[in-house]
Amino acid sequence: MKQYFHSVELDADKCCGCTNCLKRCPTEAIRIHKGKAHILSERCIDCGECIRICPHHAKRAHSNPLEDIEQYKIKIALPAPALFGQFNNLDDIDIVLTGLRAVGFDFIYEVSRGAEIVSELTRNMIRDNKLRKPIISSACPAVVRLIKIRFPELCGNVMPLLAPMEVAAKLARREVRGMTGLDDKDIGVFFITPCPAKVTEINSPNHAEKSAVSGAIAISQLYPALTHAMDHLTTVESIAKSGLIGVGWATSGGEAAAMLGEKYLAADGIENVIRVLEELEDDHIRDVDFIELNACSGGCVGGVLTVENPYVAQARIHNLRKYLPVSLNHLDEKDVDAMLWEKELTYNAESFALSDDIMEAMEMMDKMEKICADLPGLDCGSCGAPTCRAMAEDIVKGVAKETDCIHKLKAKIQSVYDQLSSTL
């Protein structure tokens, strides 16, 4: 089996095996084994639902501490547009960007700038009829990974374009190389991230061998230092170069609205996203050219590494956009090639297939149906699998046994007891 990088991980000491995350994982990627909630690597899409739900804070996202920027001669910050929705009474993005300078970054490049360029290129590609419709946005890496493991025939509908974060990283590097004459290895590019999915995307990209981003710092981790810096600014530098199109990407519907008139659909929240993908697969969604999907409710402002309530953040983003020009960044035709994916998105059958041999898989499924029919059907999770069906699958795979089901075990003990008492 392949190795997968994941930013979501378990802090085993804090986990008490309560089954909250088990029941909420949208890809059934969690199993509780010996009282601890382990993640099945081949199924995890790093959406962060388990981090959100865990009452004991036992699921966490791996990201870089701020100190990591010190390894580089030049330090670039790429703030996600969702960052701008995290502050009360903010009316000027430059206050946040100057704050980032104060905490140690030399150069700031808003991801919303990359977003405006991605929007323009997408519009061009739709106009030129170069893509299979409906086009599914590739901006949310949790969604892209979900399609990769569960929706084989939709892989070809995913827009083969870099996400704004990557585009911003490439353009920022180029600008800084030009200004300083430094090598890429001396330039650290750090994404200020709302979510673990982006961290995974940086470490193990879907689109290329290597990401142009060096690391990611969680919004929630940076928040105390950043707000402190913002409160103590003496001057505000003029850094921001984004229009309302780019900043709008922070919230659900923003990317789709930037399609300017194309027939679009925007869905947010992982369960809604799955419903849309299922219907697309059944060819039931027609008359739509562009589909924006965000794993988080509300869009990236709802990312699990943000601090503010997503709806409050959404309202703030809406306010901030009011005073911005439409778009301040435009596509340079010369850059188009550098913005396309280097490799195609391919289906990873291994995540859900019982075996890569169909005959063996059929035999396993046959057994599985029988085992499943014999389990109590309570989907209670106390065996460590999210449903009785998933439990049947684990038994067939040899990673669980029937008596891990406490109801089965109880019946067995009862029958032994009955036998014993009848012989007494």
Partner: protein, 141 residues
């Protein structure tokens, strides 16, 4: 064991539950690592037929047999039957009522799409008795 057999009852009462059988078959085909093009064709054909069972008949049952190289499906209902099959097969022909059309169904493309996505399609129908739809989707090598 030469096939996986699956059986579903399709309720005619709750329109919002249509699509559950096709969804379940899709999930199982993915668990088998089945040919992905065949999965998509089974999903679309079954979905359309399931919707028809609910909006034109009062539900019924579905039998599915999954073989390594093809899938056989029977969709059976005890509805009103189809008076003119040839006409029903025409693109755009529909007797769906307005309330169903408002939900985005009733474009008259169901049966033509089923034909398009399957390798074999046979309709046995009798007025006042019901309709049996036999479908086969083969794995293209």
């Amino acid at each position: 064991m030469s096939s996986i057999h699956l059986h579903y009852d399709v309720s005619g009462e709750d329109f919002t539950r249509a699509g559950e059988a096709s969804g379940s078959v899709k999930k199982r085909l993915k668990a088998l690592g089945y040919n992905t093009d065949a999965i998509r064709r089974v999903a679309i054909a079954m979905y359309e037929a399931e919707i028809n069972m609910v909006i034109h008949a009062e539900g019924g049952f579905v039998d599915v047999d999954i073989y390594p190289d093809h899938v056989d499906i029977l969709m059976s209902d005890k509805g009103p039957g189809i008076p003119d099959v040839e006409k029903a097969m025409q693109e755009g022909f529909s007797t769906a009522p307005d309330n169903v059309r408002n939900l985005g169904f009733g474009a008259g493309m169901g049966l033509p799409n089923i034909k398009k996505y399957t390798d074999d399609m046979r309709i046995e129908t009798k007025i006042g008795v019901g309709t049996d739809l036999y479908l086969t989707v083969k794995v293209n090598q």
